[in-house]
């Protein structure tokens, strides 16, 4: 099966209507069948399965996350074709490791699963990117990097997305980051005003290449001379 092909099988292809689950227990409800399948497939790399309010969380060894997500995406019995979110959680307790979280949804099977990887204390904040599995991971991983400083190995363009690229104060959602930032207000303003607003978007980012044929002649000429708005 090739990726990105239209799927017409699975539970959502039948005539049964989706229903809203009722009377879900806080903990220990029925787990998503994909969790069991993951445990069978990856055995020791799956550390724990939690079910909270009917949503399944699978804790995976950081080194196996990419394989597990690739399998969930590709396997005909899973087909998690939609990446909702990539984010991270840092806990207030300094002993608890930082977690990276992926939210996956299977449209054909109407399933939702949450994958978590705990990065051990003291280890470098690095994890494999899932950009080549889901393009949606591009900006999500950039945001996660911007806010938490987690480096996604294999991401093609890992740079800040919310803060400007020359932002020097660190990673704002980390627990050791002061709420007002590290610099004085005047220094923050001085650095912010030193940005070049036109340097934010590169031609590549705007996908100018895709629209090249429809561009005005004058702009095509400028682009062919190598002009770009990026840094």
């Amino acid at each position: 099966m090739t990726r990105f092909e239209v799927v017409t099988t699975g539970e959502s292809s039948g005539t049964d209507q989706p229903t809203t689950p009722k009377n879900i227990p806080h903990r220990g409800g029925a787990a998503n069948p994909s969790a069991k399948a993951l445990q069978d497939k990856f055995s020791s790399a799956i550390k724990r399965v939690d079910v909270v309010w009917g949503e399944t969380t699978v804790y995976v060894e950081p080194g196996f996350v990419r394989q597990a997500i690739l399998w969930l995406h590709d396997d005909a019995s899973q087909r998690y074709d939609f990446l909702s979110d990539v984010t991270a959680v840092e806990y207030r307790d300094p002993e608890v490791p930082l977690e990276v979280v992926w939210h996956l949804r299977s449209l054909p099977f109407r399933r939702f699963i949450r994958i978590k990887a705990q990065i051990p204390k003291g280890a470098p904040l690095e994890i494999d990117s899932v950009y080549d599995i889901y393009r949606a991971a591009d900006w999500l991983e950039r945001e996660c990097y911007d806010m938490f400083g987690i480096r996604f190995r294999g991401h093609p363009d890992l740079r800040r997305i919310l803060m400007w690229e020359q932002y020097k104060e660190g990673f704002p959602l980390r627990k050791d980051f002061p709420l007002r930032g590290r610099f004085s207000r005047s220094e923050q303003l001085r650095q912010a005003l030193a940005q070049n607003p036109e340097a934010r978007y590169s031609m590549e980012e705007l996908s100018i290449a895709d629209a090249y044929a429809e561009l005005p002649d004058e702009m095509r000429e400028r682009l062919s001379k190598g002009e770009r708005t990026g840094e």
Binding site: R92, D176, F177, P178, R180, S186, L189, R190, L193
Partner: protein, 208 residues
């Protein structure tokens, strides 16, 4: 013309039979009256204040009554910059550039608590009042201000415009920022303006 100047140059007389109207006024008054009643706003809406601003411009509150029916989305044709909403540091150079692109005479209104002071966003990402980036003529309080509040601020600005003197060139001088820091006002003043108050002093996210 209907005006005839007698030989003694003392009295202006009017000949009604000429059927021509005329009016005498001060140039200041005429120019300011025209300016005050044809302010074209440059809307810089970043948050919920922009919704109230749109409500002000829509039919019920109808900013067109005050000569503002035409939103100028090009700063080069705008007279008054209305900053409606919080301004993050990433937008600071952009609002500064829009202000610099507006031709004189120009005024600005800071609409709402966030634009005026940073509001509740006393954090790493939000400018603590746009008066640290651009000069502000009128502050409109509120979170967000109701359209009546904005209209009151606009009326205040119109009063200000009407009281300007054409002879006073100082008000029309373009402010040049300090070349090294790009700031209009000294850093110590900015720090003072951004000084926190209330119970959030020196609070970190973790409370550690």
């Amino acid at each position: 013309m209907g005006l005839t100047v007698p030989s003694d140059h003392q009295v202006v007389s009017y000949a009604p039979e000429s059927q021509e109207g005329w009016v005498a006024t001060r140039l200041d008054f005429l120019v300011n009256w025209a300016r005050a009643n044809s302010l074209w706003p440059m809307p810089f809406g970043t948050a919920c204040c922009a919704i109230e601003f749109m409500a002000s411009a829509a039919s019920k509150y109808d900013l067109a009554r005050f000569g503002m029916e035409r939103m100028s989305f090009s700063p080069r044709q705008a007279d008054v910059l209305i900053c409606a909403g919080r301004v993050p540091f990433k937008l600071a150079p952009i609002i500064r550039r829009i202000w610099q692109q507006m031709p004189q005479p120009k005024w600005s209104i800071s609409m709402g608590a966030c634009a005026s002071t940073g509001g509740m966003f006393d954090n790493y990402a939000v400018v603590q009042g746009i008066d640290t980036i651009i000069p502000v003529d009128v502050y409109v309080p509120g979170c967000p201000p109701r359209p009546e509040g904005l209209i009151y601020g606009i009326r205040m600005l119109q009063e200000k415009v009407k009281n300007e003197r054409a002879a006073d060139k100082g008000t029309r001088d373009e402010m040049e920022p300090d070349p090294s820091s790009q700031l209009y006002i000294p850093p110590s003043v900015i720090d003072e303006l951004g000084e926190p108050f209330g119970n959030s002093v020196n609070q970190t996210r973790s409370g550690l």
